[in-house]
Symmetry: C2
Subunit: 78 residues, 2 copies
Amino acid sequence: MALYEIFVTYKKGIFDPPGATAERALRNLGYEGVGSVRIGKFIQLEADADEVAVREMCDKLLANPVIEDYRIESVGEA
Amino acid sequence: MALYEIFVTYKKGIFDPPGATAERALRNLGYEGVGSVRIGKFIQLEADADEVAVREMCDKLLANPVIEDYRIESVGEA
């Protein structure tokens, strides 16, 4: 089976509530040097599928193409 | 500011509900070749902080060290 790593991030300009919360919380903990924090998804997918099929899975289910971007990396075989 | 990418994943043996749901949903959509799906977090952090401080942020707030592992990558300057 092929192994894929998929990185799902909010598109530029889309508000990222978990990221904003973490940003504020880190500053409250005393980490003054914190700039921005963006929190997306890191998906590890094991499948007998080529990258075209994985892209389709992302568009249909794993990401929301309206507000999210994603990047697929093929990382070998299981 | 330094840019870090942090990959948070469930530890081996810890049940991953979003991953299990996605796995089942993909099979229901007809993707028979899907093996396992694991869903973690992909965090993009911009901070004036060294990797020791970032590790501390992960342990305190960004990850749950009881059930999650994380990997930090330094990816340059903003």
